[in-house]
């Protein structure tokens, strides 16, 4: 992490009143937290909200000046529990993570936070990972808001509204004594826009202004019976009405009037921009959001304010709820509200719009085309129909021209990634021991589920691989192998997996990818990340061998069979896996697969190399290559690697029609190609080239001597 600089972002966080902030949505949220006077911030990294925490962690000086306590929590449960500080103290706090997965992990703490309620404003910023580019299962955070009685914001995706809603969330939380969640979709987090900043506010109680006395003992602030019964009553008798009053008084939800009064559109704030574009396509709105069909944009999607809904629906023939994801909680609630008010306005929603999937422009246009003619028959919607036909035509034309499906391009391991060789070794080990059951996990290593490896029989959650192989080992002749990253190990795997396996004397195999960081989320530090000195002295080499926290932890817990293997030694790794499969030892077998994240290594190496080259000093670069005249074009090497720099090209020899393997100049010389060539007896085509820039006199003498006695140049 230390190698990434957030200087520009930190400058944006320092902006004062009247200055214009130009940046990404998630950074605007970060700025809004400081403008709201938060005392503490915590969270667990994950797209698309990682940036919030990363920047705050790096902005030590600014946080120190304001007295803000920033924590990189080891999982979402520990982040959620931090909010407990706002139960008994008038301090504002915010935590962040990727939903739905993070909210699932945090659920226990959230229940017990919501029960007593909060005194200081408590905000949870979640990345609602739904739709294109999403990496987790498609469930809605909405369910958690409802079940724990927390309020849920879904602001219109422009930076001004998002920032205002962050600030209002704290006020709402304090006015109603309940935690607030703000859900932001991926593209909103990454939306690059602008808003007018205001000054940061230093919290009244903080790391600079210390609280002298701990809070008094108040049993009714504990999530513990019998007061939890009272909490249940408070939630709906006191907090909910207070929240509704605040939402209505501060006009957090927005009505946009239009001339066609017979129909009203009720939409989650986050989808508002897409709806305006859909109405534009139909000729019913302009680029500045002036609409002919009335819209109620819900910046707060839970709780709804019945009066607002009734007022918006009254007198119309129909309202439609445009709600992404399933089930349709908002539509159900609005149905109940209309029924209770005995309103005869027809309610539409999922009967017109699709149950699941992202509400893109075409989905919205198609839905409106179904709805509007029923109630506004005089409207000419020809433009919309033409749009739908046009897209269908374009796609049909493309498909007929391309004939077959295009080859997929899923994400994969980086160039030189230390996790790739482990899967090459596993593939080779399978040649000896046969197919094995592989419990996969969350992390970069999940890329091994794609070609060319295609490993993994289950993925149950972050750090869950070992636990998920516990059931399998009971009925399998061969031992199952669980793959886990060090990120997953510290997040959850240590407790859910290792302790459980040891307690039950499980005969399982665990491979821990010790790369030193939670790499998939942007190489944030973990407990076992090598120290800065070790990193600096390793330069471009791996430094993870300098930290033994994982090994010592496992030994201390009673793991007896523990092997550490250098990932790039494919032969050794294969041997160790085979040994783990065959050893008579009955108990947990752990293989520590050691190799530092290549991104971090390259980030360290690049400036060092640039400096040396700039000074005219000796630099040696290694890269691998394939001799195309000995390559026969079988591509076994690629089936054991998948490295982006090991690719194919047309043979220079026109006799050969199959493309030959080829290593591009992006190769970082990790060594896997050579190790595979030996371990798998691939072919003699691979070579390693050592390229010496600014050679010393000794280099030149040696090279001259060699050239004189050989015929290489």
């Amino acid at each position: 992490m230390a190698e990434v600089s957030f200087g520009k972002e930190i400058d944006l966080l320092k902006l004062g009143k009247g200055e214009t902030f130009h940046g990404e949505g998630i950074l605007a949220v970060t700025k809004a937290l400081l403008q709201s006077g938060v005392t503490y911030v915590g969270g667990y990294q994950g797209a698309p909200v990682s940036h919030l925490l990363d920047v705050m962690v790096e902005a030590k000086e600014l946080m120190g000046d304001l007295g803000v306590n920033v924590q990189s929590c080891t999982n979402e449960a520990s982040a959620a529990a931090m909010l407990g500080a706002s139960i008994m103290y008038p301090v504002r706090g915010a935590v962040t993570w990727k939903s739905i997965v993070g909210t699932n992990v945090a659920a226990d703490a959230l229940s017990n936070l919501s029960s007593p309620g909060v005194m200081g404003g408590a905000l949870i910023v979640v990345g609602e990972d739904y739709g294109e580019g999403a990496s987790v299962i498609q469930e809605r955070t909405h369910a958690f808001a409802m079940k724990s009685t927390m309020w849920l914001m879904d602001p219109r995706p422009n930076l001004t509204t998002i920032v205002r809603m962050v600030e209002k969330s704290f006020e709402l939380s304090e006015a109603s004594n309940a935690p607030v969640i703000m859900e932001l979709r991926i593209r909103a987090c990454h939306a690059r826009g602008a808003f007018e900043a205001s000054d940061n506010v230093a919290p009244k109680i903080s790391a600079r202004e210390l609280q002298k006395m701990p809070a008094e003992f108040l049993y009714d602030r504990l999530a513990h019976p019998p007061v939890t019964y009272r909490h249940e009553k408070l939630k709906f008798d006191v907090r909910m009405p207070a929240a509704r009053k605040f939402i209505a008084d501060h006009k957090l939800n927005e009505v946009f009037g239009g001339k066609h009064d017979d129909v009203g559109l009720i939409i989650q704030g986050g989808l508002y921009n897409g709806l305006i574009r859909a109405l534009q396509e139909l000729g019913l709105a302009d680029i500045y959001g002036r609409t002919e069909i009335p819209i109620l944009a819900l910046n707060v999607v839970y709780p709804l304010v019945p009066d607002e809904i009734v007022k918006f629906a009254a007198g119309r023939k129909a309202v439609v709820v445009i709600e992404e994801g399933q089930p349709e909680y908002i539509e159900h609630e609005i149905g109940a509200i209309l029924r209770r008010a005995d309103l005869n306005t027809v309610l539409h929603g999922k009967d017109i719009f699709p149950q699941a999937g992202e509400y893109t422009l075409e989905v919205l246009v198609a839905g409106l085309l179904k709805l509007l003619p029923r109630y506004l028959p005089a409207l000419d919607l020809g433009r919309g129909s033409a749009f739908v036909d046009e897209i269908a035509g374009l796609r049909a034309k493309a498909q007929s021209a391309l004939v077959g499906p295009l080859p997929p391009r899923p994400p994969g391991f980086c160039v030189g990634c230390p996790e790739r060789p482990v899967f090459a070794a596993l593939k080779l080990a399978e040649r000896q021991v046969g197919k094995v059951h592989v419990s996969a996990d969350i992390g970069c290593h999940a890329f091994a589920t794609f070609e060319p490896f295609s490993f993994g029989n289950s993925i149950l959650g972050y750090g869950m691989s070992l636990a998920s192989s516990a059931g399998v080992q009971g009925f399998s002749e061969k031992r199952p192998i669980a793959i886990m990253g060090d990120g997953g190990f510290w997040h959850n795997g240590l407790l859910s997996g290792v302790t459980s396996s040891l307690l039950n004397h499980g005969d399982q195999i665990l491979v821990i990818m010790k790369n030193g960081y939670t790499s998939a989320t942007g190489t944030q530090d973990v407990l076992s990340t090598p120290g800065p000195q070790a990193q600096a002295s390793a330069s471009g080499a791996s430094s993870v061998n300098t930290d033994l926290t994982i090994e010592n932890t496992l030994k201390g817990m009673g793991v007896k069979w523990l092997r550490t293997v250098d990932n790039y030694r494919v032969g050794d790794m294969r041997k160790t896996i085979v040994e783990a499969m065959r050893t008579p030892f009955n108990g947990l077998k752990v293989i520590i697969a050691e190799g530092e994240c290549q991104l971090e290594r390259q980030r360290r190496l690049r400036p060092v190399r640039a400096r040396l080259l700039g000074q005219g000093k000796r630099v040696v670069r290694e890269r691998f290559g394939v001799d195309e005249d000995t390559c026969t074009g079988d591509h076994s090497c690629i089936r054991l690697s998948g490295c982006p720099t090991l690719t194919v090209k047309p043979s220079s020899d026109p006799l050969k029609t199959d493309p030959v393997a080829h290593v591009t100049n992006g190769c970082v010389g990790c060594g896997l190609c050579g190790a595979n060539a030996h371990a798998a007896t691939l072919c003699p085509s691979f070579y390693r080239a050592e390229i010496v820039t600014n050679p010393s006199w000794f280099d030149r003498a040696k090279s001259g001597f060699r050239r004189a006695l050989t015929r290489t140049a």
Partner: protein
């Protein structure tokens, strides 16, 4: 006039290509030009080589007082004004989703390919046909600008995003001056000089792109017209000349003559080559025969690895300057059968018998690293290359000669009676490639297909109907390394021929 729609720009890139930097440049340039702008993206797993996209919307003029444009966060099919893609397959993917329209889209696509793992890992040629995408792009966009952005970036020493920026600006994607773009790059700091060069090169290149010619053409043959073999189609003659050169290079001129003799046998057996089936069978037959005769044994590999031209190629591929020094280390692990293969027949046989009996053959068959730029390594390899002199009496040579003769005999019969079958049979030696286990697998597959399809078809004289199954079987053998598809295909071919065989008996 009030602008009813924003200007929309969709950027397709691969993780780690700097698409985010490009979006940032565009936004900053627009802000400097005082234009409302929004960019968004789904980077998700950027850095990690997957496909990713960035989407920009902007207005051509500042918003009227009190109003703010509502920008969409998701690009819409048929509603993209400028589409730029760093890679041709990704262009295809966007076209497949309907993003380019003949009414409005200026499509700038790099003609370069970054092959996907699914394409690269195939045992034969799994590359998607680029010309299909090129042809589609030509017909589906308002204006199509095919341009090799990767090469431009490489030549100017920058990353592809700078070239993409220049191409967009050159194609008129922005409602502001070029200087705004260049200032945005300068303000970005690091690497600005190289980025500006890449920008300028792409800006200029856009103007000179000739979109009327296909950007992706099939590779053209370059050989000189050969002597002899008159009356054959040019493609066939080209292959024969190359084949002869290849065999000369492998052994000596006498070996090249042997190649020509064998080709003559095929031609003599064939009907006139006007029939395209015949021409194809002869061309493929001549090609595969040459590659087969110049099989990859240890002396051959040692020879190729110690040629001057090889070291020149390594220097070129690594983009080395003259003042840099090169040291090359080989990764060799000759299997026991490969060592036996280059030795005289009797010794080779003895070694293979010993290996088969399970007795130790150490140190033969262990992995070694040898430096061909080192004195010892170089001369060791040259010594191994000298085994080519006794190649004609080696174990492998005897084996290959026998197999080639068998194939030639089958080819002669096939050419005479069924050019379609001959075409499929000509392609069969394609299976014989690789080293070690890979080579063994190829041989096993070849033998299995020969005995399951070729031999029965020749015996029964039913070649035409076996042509399809033979072609399928060769494709099946190349479908997966575990031989699953081949086993299934051979089993079904067997079932299909069962009734006929009974009828024949």
């Amino acid at each position: 006039m009030v602008q009813t729609h924003p200007r929309t720009i969709l950027i397709a890139a691969l993780g780690g290509e700097g698409g985010g930097v490009l979006a940032e440049w565009i936004v900053n340039a627009a802000i400097k030009a005082d234009l409302p702008v929004q960019a968004t993206s789904v980077p998700g797993v950027a850095q990690r080589t997957g496909a990713t996209s960035y989407y920009v919307e902007m207005m051509d003029a500042p918003a009227p007082q009190g109003l703010e444009p509502v920008f969409a966060l998701v690009p819409a099919p048929g509603r993209v004004d400028f589409l730029v893609s760093s890679e041709l397959l990704e262009t295809g993917r966007l076209l497949e989703r309907g993003f380019a329209s003949p009414d409005r889209t200026v499509l700038i696509s790099s003609t370069s390919r970054v092959y996907t793992t699914a394409e690269k890992m195939q045992m034969g040629d799994g590359r998607f046909d680029s010309s299909k995408i090129d042809a589609l792009a030509r017909s589906i966009a308002r204006h199509y600008v095919p341009i090799d952005l990767e090469r431009l970036a490489l030549e100017t020493g920058t990353i592809i995003s700078a070239a993409m920026f220049g191409a967009l600006a050159g194609a008129g994607a922005f409602p502001f001056a070029r200087a705004h773009c260049e200032n945005a790059i300068r303000a970005g700091g690091r690497g600005a000089e190289a980025s500006l060069k890449g920008f300028a090169a792409a800006f200029a290149a856009v103007a000179s792109v000739d979109a009327t010619k296909p950007a992706v053409e099939p590779a053209a043959a370059t050989a000189k017209p050969p002597g002899g073999f008159a009356g054959l189609p040019r493609d066939v003659r080209d292959v024969i000349v190359r084949g002869q050169t290849h065999c000369n290079d492998f052994q000596d001129e006498a070996y090249g003559e042997l190649y020509l003799d064998r080709v003559r046998v095929l031609i003599a057996a064939a009907p006139p080559a006007e029939d395209p089936h015949v021409a194809h069978a002869l061309e493929e037959g001549a090609r595969r025969l040459a590659l087969w005769m110049a099989y990859e044994d240890i002396p051959r590999v040692a020879d190729l690895k110690t040629r001057k031209t090889r070291f020149e190629r390594i220097r070129r591929e690594a983009e080395m300057r003259d003042d840099q020094l090169l040291h090359v280390v080989e990764y060799l692990k000759p299997g026991i059968e490969e060592i036996a293969a280059m030795l005289p027949l009797r010794i080779g046989d003895a070694i293979m018998r010993r290996a088969a009996s399970g007795k130790t053959t150490w140190p033969l068959g262990t992995g070694i690293n040898i430096s061909t730029t080192g004195v010892f390594g170089f001369w060791t390899m040259r010594a191994l290359a000298q085994f080519a002199r006794v190649r004609r009496s080696s174990l492998r040579f005897a084996q290959e000669t026998q197999a080639i003769d068998l194939w030639l005999a089958a080819m002669r019969k096939a050419l005479a009676s069924s050019p379609a079958f001959a075409g499929a049979l000509a392609e069969m030696p394609r299976l014989l490639k690789g080293y070690g286990d890979t080579h063994l697998r190829g041989r096993t597959n070849y033998a299995a297909i020969f005995s399951a399809i070729v031999a029965p078809a020749l015996d029964a004289g039913r070649l035409d109907e076996a042509a399809g199954p033979l072609r399928n079987a060769v494709a099946a053998a190349l479908a997966d390394p575990d031989g699953k598809v081949l086993a299934k295909t051979l089993a079904s071919a067997d079932r299909a021929s069962e009734p006929r065989r009974l009828a024949a008996e």
